[in-house]
Symmetry: C2
Subunit: 208 residues, 2 copies
DNA sequence: AAATGCGTTTGATATAGGTCAAAAACCATG
DNA sequence: CATGGTTTTTGACCTATATCAAACGCATTT
């Protein structure tokens, strides 16, 4: 356990807008978010961007870099944040001695794969309203798991970033928020969201 | 190395249309494809399906099940196939003794995450022609890596399955094939594809 | 307090891709 | 080789979302 503590001893802080890593940089460590908020994005050479995820405290980023020893996306702080660096070779070493840690690591990687499957489902076969509803419910659930209200929260990302993540244009995101508001599902004031009717919002997605 | 051989000794065959596993089934093993062709899909309760991938020999499926000890998607043979079962607990055990194997497993999981990022990019920010071009180029590259022609191959999946994977309707897939053919990029006769102008097809992805 | 600047909202219009429908091609089976 | 079922193609039309454009809100600077 001391060794595990030693593994996670290096902490770093980031201001809003700063990059934790950039696509192409060589891979050394995974990062556990302690506080704050990040996004990960892939950039196409023609300038198009695809936001691949929003990460909150307790989540691990950098897993994509293992396969090629280089990061395949950017990670950007959306809020002042603190992360904890986990050197990957030492993590592998330690997980050889600690089956519980090994299993944990595998679970984390697998969970990321399942998360991605969910996004494929979202992007591949949902309509705009379903996408936004699924997105909000996902945030709600994650805030809730961290002890915050599942019904009222502050969005750390712009409409454009939400749109990129959901495969929609920012105007469509904005309009869909307005629709939801008109129908009494939620109240939204720029970045502040309050979900009024969680059940009905859920029924939009079909499941969850 | 004997232990590694022992690990991969259980083989099974599947006829076209048979399920390797189904969503919800409990997780015991990963599967390495020896011969044949599979698809993985997630089903929404309202009947919508999302194909999450097409797998060929040498590829590993089942990684999604690690995190919850249950499969989160279906895997269906698209061709008569042979797979090799890899009991996961024994794989973990062995990878504690063999750092090379451990690293290999991590790379495979990470590669899957990167693959999924690519699909998000595709679904989130490409148009129909780009999606289909990217799909064909991906198949081409994978056939090529297996010693088959990169220019001529047989599609194992239906237009509907391609469409589901690419977030398009089957009619759109069909029409886009026709467009490509009209422009001399490829020749397609139902399931037989021959790429005539690989460079120009490539220039589709990442332009416009 | 005015000016600047980004992010957001809203409206008008355009279009890529979806939907519906029918015909054609293909494939498995008796 | 005739049959019936599936898959594919193609056409006509429609709609969800994109695009373009303008105004607005809010925060920061001057």
């Amino acid at each position: 356990m001391q060794r595990l503590d030693a593994l996670t001893s290096l902490k770093r802080t980031f201001r809003r807008g700063e990059y934790l890593y950039r696509c192409g940089e060589s891979f050394r460590a995974l990062y556990a978010i302690r506080t704050g908020f990040f996004k990960t994005q892939v950039l196409h050479e023609d300038g198009r961007e695809q936001v691949t995820g929003f990460q909150m405290p307790g989540e691990i980023i950098g897993l994509d870099a293992i396969c090629s020893d280089a990061h395949t996306c950017d990670a950007v702080a959306l809020d002042d944040s603190e992360i904890c660096e986990i050197p990957f070779d030492r993590l592998e070493e330690l997980s050889r001695d600690l089956p519980g840690l090994q299993r944990h690591l595998h679970r984390i990687m697998s969970r990321e794969i399942v998360r991605d499957q969910g996004i494929m489902m979202l992007l591949g076969s949902m309509r705009a309203e379903e996408r936004l509803a699924a997105f909000l419910l996902n945030l709600s659930q994650r805030f809730s798991a961290r002890g915050y209200s599942p019904n009222a929260f502050h969005l750390r990302m712009t409409r454009q970033e939400i749109g990129s993540y959901l495969g929609l244009k920012l105007e469509t995101v904005s309009r869909t928020f307005s629709h939801f508001q008109e129908h009494g599902l939620l109240s939204v004031k720029v970045r502040e969201v309050e979900i009024m009717d969680l059940l009905r919002l859920r029924s939009f997605v079909g499941s969850t």
